[in-house]
Symmetry: C3
Subunit: 139 residues, 3 copies
């Protein structure tokens, strides 16, 4: 039985999606787990974690544009604005997406679909260092 934990750091260049897939695949390969699951948690409230189409970058551009429209930075009733107009929308976009994902490990590899990539979704305009907590459990 294996229970491993890791803390990753990743830097962003502001708003957008950043692939974590390869880095996490390597952790799973090194873990020695054949049947189990991996949990990935973004430790922030203004960046989140999504499973998204990994082939066509235009799909991710459309995703970014959609969230800009859905949670506008100039929403008139927001009061939590002292870090800037992207502060409160970042919290809401985080809640509307995911902070954690758990993915089965089958025969030693993450059981993602062919087109599924794991992306950190940065919601702040400024570059940030982001931390990701990971647990791998199985046998």
């Amino acid at each position: 039985m294996i229970h491993q934990t890791h803390l990753l750091q990743t830097s962003t260049n502001g708003k957008g999606t950043y692939s974590l897939t390869r880095q996490i695949e390597e952790l799973v390969a090194q873990s020695g787990v054949n049947q189990g699951a991996i949990t990935i948690l973004v430790q922030h409230t203004s960046a989140s974690l999504v499973l998204m189409e990994n082939a066509d970058i235009e799909a991710r551009h459309d995703l970014h544009a959609f969230f800009d429209h859905l949670v506008p930075e100039d929403t008139p009733y927001f009061t939590h604005t002292y870090e800037g107009p992207d502060d409160m929308p970042s919290h809401i976009r985080t809640v509307l997406t995911q902070s954690s994902q758990t993915i089965p490990i089958i025969d030693g590899v993450m059981a993602l679909g062919t087109w599924q990539g794991i992306f950190l979704f940065e919601h702040r305009v400024a570059p940030h260092n982001r931390r990701v907590a990971i647990h791998i459990g199985g046998a």
Copy 2:
């Protein structure tokens, strides 16, 4: 200690929600796990997984209608459209809902609430075969 994995296949008749509850309850019953957790992952980026009211089908119809309004198929700024007008909305509806769920197993059964059902949420208009990866861990 038990670590089991499964791959299920399910077919859809196009947009809508499809119950997986009974099939997954049976896997939990057969697993022999008394205290543990089950993780369910839909291995696609245009279909997702929701825990939703399981009694009144009108609640699910309203859910479908809401997502049709929230992410319209004729959104003018979408560029990832070569698979049709339902392509990009499907990716976004997936990100706005969930791809995976983890549910505690207590005394040998999934600890769902009375009204919670597990549904695959198909976002594409055409029928699809969908794969679901599962991990059951516990003792």
Copy 3:
């Protein structure tokens, strides 16, 4: 190896977010798990679970206001309304947020970020008793 499960009850005073962080931190401390993960599931379809900014209560007020605007109680096409105008919006707000979260446990504590709190998000107007199922697994 440890596999523990718990059922918590919490009461709400109607719509809003209610912190579960301290109560869950205590369960993790008592579990004896050093490396592992905790899964938390709200067993309802009209209340959900979010990881949200834990310092400024105005951020949560803005969050509540946003969901009131995004899923209006007077949406004209809703048909599942026999429990009142807050019934169907509650189901949709649950699906748009999360029902479960899994959080790594590292060195004996939940690996939450500094600003992350665990909140039950009550979507119904009337006070409710809510149940939360928990699994802690690890070593």
